[in-house]
């Protein structure tokens, strides 16, 4: 059973013109929003998703803006609010939804859930639960690419809270001394679960940590896909030129609880309002209207089309069976074929 085609026909026109890229930003951000809304607000509540659900509502511009800079053979290490990266790599909503439901059609065939998915063929590496554990692994992938004289580079994503972990520091330090081609992208959504950043670190910005490792850093508006895209281009150029790691701190806000069970009562009301007004999808739509890249009807038909695409994907995922219990012990080690 082949998964539902991930790419919208609208996207076939997608070029690297400003209008074309804006459309691609909008498409991937909207697809991510729609899939995650279904996951968090529907399938989870219906009991069709049993495990944890962490979504990137309000933060879509980060993974989409950065992800569209990556070349196809660059290596991506997404974090748990970076679903858009999977779509950019051609993994469809159907496989993602089946993953969340623990079905064989999911990317890990029911071996793991939610955002714990990867595919080496598509050069996208699965996180483990431990925050920041991907950073040293990404450093090693970047060191290997450098050894192989590849032009490809590595992108690793993480939250503000993850920057408190030793792995984050060890990984960046190693990549820095090795001048490994690593782009580090932080979504600073101001909370790690319920813990605000001022209890996470005593410097003001995640970017302030970079000088300690002798690497450049910059801060961008993480709700502006274009700003993230342009900053990531600078970072990628730096890494591709052999100048080593580069950190981008994207200022954003998590427009939901930490996970689907979390009402986030600890978040002051005014923050929801302030950041709701900066929604990255609405902003991109307005930009496209202002600049004449699209008409209101085009945008409406894009959203319709995404909804239909996700409807089909949900149906496909639900039709996908659970893995057979007999397969439990398979693939712990390499198996002789």
């Amino acid at each position: 059973m082949a998964a539902v085609k991930p790419v919208s026909p609208l996207m076939d026109a997608g070029t690297n013109t400003e209008a074309g890229l804006s459309l691609r930003f909008l498409y991937y951000m909207s697809l991510m929003r729609e899939v995650e809304d279904r996951i968090e607000r529907k399938l989870y509540r219906q009991g069709k998703i049993l495990g944890g659900v962490y979504v990137g509502r309000g933060q879509e511009a980060i993974c989409v803006g950065a992800g569209l800079v990556a070349e196809p053979d660059d290596v991506l290490f997404p974090c748990h609010r970076d679903l858009g990266l999977y779509f950019i790599r051609g993994i469809g909503p159907a496989e993602v939804l089946a993953q969340y439901m623990g079905r064989v059609g999911g990317l890990t065939q029911g071996r793991d859930g939610n955002m714990h998915m990867g595919d080496l063929k598509r050069r996208i590496v699965a996180i483990i639960s431990a925050m920041a554990a991907s950073v040293p692994v990404a450093a090693g992938a970047a060191m290997a690419l450098k050894q192989q004289r590849s032009r490809n580079i590595v992108f690793v994503f993480f939250g503000d809270g993850a920057t408190s972990r030793g792995d984050w520091h060890e990984g960046i330090n190693l990549a820095a001394v090795q001048k490994a081609p690593l782009v580090l992208i932080c979504n600073n959504n101001q909370y790690a679960y319920s813990t605000p950043t001022e209890k996470q670190m005593s410097c003001e910005h995640v970017a302030d940590r970079a000088p300690g490792y002798g690497i450049p850093a910059e801060m961008v508006d993480g709700n502006d896909a274009w700003a993230v895209y342009e900053a990531t281009q600078r970072a990628a150029d730096h890494a591709r030129q052999g100048l080593g790691p580069y950190l981008i701190e994207c200022k954003t806000f998590r427009m939901t609880g930490h996970s689907a069970h979390d009402g986030a009562d600890y978040v002051p009301k005014h923050l929801w309002e302030e950041w709701g007004a900066k929604d990255p999808i609405a902003r991109m739509e307005n930009l496209m209207l202002d600049r004449g890249y699209a008409a209101r009807e085009d945008l409406e038909s894009l959203q319709d089309q995404i909804r239909r695409q996700v409807d089909e994907a949900v149906a496909w995922a639900e039709a996908s069976p659970y893995p057979e219990p007999e397969t439990l012990a398979r693939n712990v080690y390499e198996e002789s074929r």
Partner: protein, 323 residues
Amino acid sequence: METTYLEAIRKGIWEEMERDPKVFLLGEDIGIYGGAFKVTAGMLDRFGEERVVDTPISESAIVGAAIGASFMGMRPVAEMQFADFITCGFDQIVNFAAKCRYRWNAPAPLVVRAPSGGGIHGGPFHSQNPEAWFVHTPGLKVVQPATAYDAKGLIKASIRDNDPVIFFEHKALYRKIKGEVPEEDYTVELGKASVFREGRDMSVITYGAMVHVAAEAAEVLEQEGVSVEIIDLRTLLPMDEETVLSSVRKTSKAIVLHEATLTGGLGGELSARITEKAFESLDGPVLRLAAPDTPVPYAPTLEKAFLPDVEKLLEKARWLAAY
């Protein structure tokens, strides 16, 4: 050629580096200094900085980077300066490396070398035998050679293996043990124990430095009319249960011997498997000889009291022989 255990490991790594450009080394002080124990001596000159990478003191990053490089098609061999520091890279080993094949079909062919073991007056942080933690982790392979021949063959097999391997090297054996090691290329298959010494009356199942303790005790027991068979596990995970069970079925008596502490050690696991699967053959209880449940102490009197040795084994063996 007569070769030390250490030199055998060095030769094995060297040959693999020559054979396969994807093999590279990373760890602390392994380049210019040649490693704390000199296992990588001369490699920087031969293979260059890109393939012999001196890293910061960052065990988690060393293991993590090895995983990342393995995803890019490389064959990294990471060195922990002492096995005791492997705890600093624990999460990367047990959560990242061990589970990636199972979770998302991403093999991580890497080796983490870890100089382990006591008897060198290293105290609580330079003497430990932490193999049981890793044996409790499906997805890893855990190896510990006892002889020079096996040391070369097993390190080569570990480097070629497509799963993550934790390779324990017993520090006390590095320069103490010598043996015939062929110059040519050979491997020793992972997952296969060896019958180190054949015997009729009792099986001692062991690995690492304790193989040599068992061998010395076996000589004494031979004089006393007790013929001891020694099984050297060589690979601790996956465990070669068949070789263990067929030995015990033959001798009807078994002692499991290890230098690591008793509780939660491999002795319990082996004892359970033997009693579950060879109960009918047994003529006595399966005994365990291991270090007591304490940290590894520093003072020579305490360390001697801590480590299993020939005397302690003889006592257990005589009791079991008379049972």
